[in-house]
């Protein structure tokens, strides 16, 4: 499994997903335990989604993560989706 970012192909890592969700969760003051649970659940469902795909784009991956986060914590989904659209 791999994903594309600006025409560069990266190996998909479940831990990277968890880490980026944790970073965003801390920035919105989410309790550590809750944040870990959310990160684990999202990473698991993304793992299942990506399992039958050879290659996905970064945009698709982000969309999938945001859609999962929206169900669990809308504020976290907002932070994840918009952290690079501030300036």
């Amino acid at each position: 499994m791999a994903f594309k970012k600006k025409k560069i192909t990266y190996e998909y890592s479940s831990n990277d997903i968890k880490n980026s969700i944790m970073l965003n969760a801390r920035s919105i003051n989410l309790p550590e335990g809750w944040a870990k649970q959310i990160a684990t659940r999202v990473a698991k469902s993304v793992d299942e989604w990506i399992a039958d795909k050879e290659i996905v784009t970064e945009g698709d991956l982000r969309k999938k993560i945001v859609s999962e986060l929206k169900d669990l914590n809308p504020d976290l989904a907002y932070a994840y989706q918009n952290h690079d659209k501030i300036i």
């Binding site: 969760a25 003051n29 932070a79 952290h83 690079d84 659209k85 300036i87």
Partner: protein, 230 residues
């Protein structure tokens, strides 16, 4: 020119510059990235250093322009230069009304070159100590220069028209005024709000802030023309 007109011009210029969004956006970005990595106390220190950096460049720019005007324009800008400043301010105001933010409903992205935006984002992500936060504050205020340069000229000209005792106080008042949005954000985060809430507020009120910035620049241009040129 009376001191009251000078002070009024400085306050109006301070409000106009405070309404610019880049340094505020930089601080939101710093908060967002730092709260994810560091303890809240460290983030508070980084934000304080960022605000100091932003204030330092404003203070130094006004002082530098005072020195240049004092030495090369014989102590005051000629009427033609003030007309040019007013024209640039009015042009900036119209540009803000029309194209300050990039198109798109849920973002507060500004019309900046993409590589430059990415550079600031990268710096904000990698800011781990006070010096880096200070330099990020310097950088983001410096990047506002296309809009704020004419404002600095007007302020420096006003400062030079004041009595010697009040000149430094006037520059300090101007610097503090420009930092009011940053200080307000710092206080909000200190009282438990997150940077995401601040960003949501910015997105919700982006039309208002665009109109406010543009109008502030236009009013400053009109003020300069009325009191300093005519």
């Amino acid at each position: 020119m009376s001191d009251i007109v000078c002070i009024a011009t400085i306050i109006l210029a301070g409000i106009a510059q405070a309404s610019l969004q880049l340094s505020l956006g930089g601080l939101v970005l710093l908060y967002h990235n730092s709260l994810g990595k560091h303890r809240r106390r460290k983030t508070r220190h980084l934000a304080k250093d960022y605000i100091f950096g932003s204030c330092a460049i404003t203070f130094l720019m006004v002082c530098t322009l005072c020195f240049l005007i004092g030495n090369f324009f014989s102590g005051a800008l000629a009427t033609e230069w003030l007309v040019i400043c007013a024209g640039i301010l009015a042009g900036s105001g119209i540009a803000m009304w029309l194209l300050y933010y990039r198109r798109g409903k849920k973002t507060t992205e500004l019309w900046l070159p993409k590589p430059f935006t990415r550079f600031i984002q990268k710096k904000a992500r990698n800011t781990n100590d006070g010096v880096e936060a200070f330099s990020l504050g310097l950088l983001s205020s410096f990047a506002e220069m296309p809009f704020s340069f004419a404002v600095y000229f007007v302020v420096a000209n006003c400062v030079l028209h004041m009595n010697g005792v009040y000149q430094v106080i006037a520059v300090v008042i101007y610097t503090v005024l420009t930092a009011v949005p940053l200080i307000a954000l710092k206080l909000r985060v200190k009282t438990g709000r997150s940077a995401v809430e601040a960003q949501k507020w910015r997105v919700k009120n982006k039309a208002f802030s665009r109109i406010f910035s543009g109008s502030a620049f236009m009013i400053l241009a009109a003020f300069v023309l009325t009191y300093w040129v005519l």
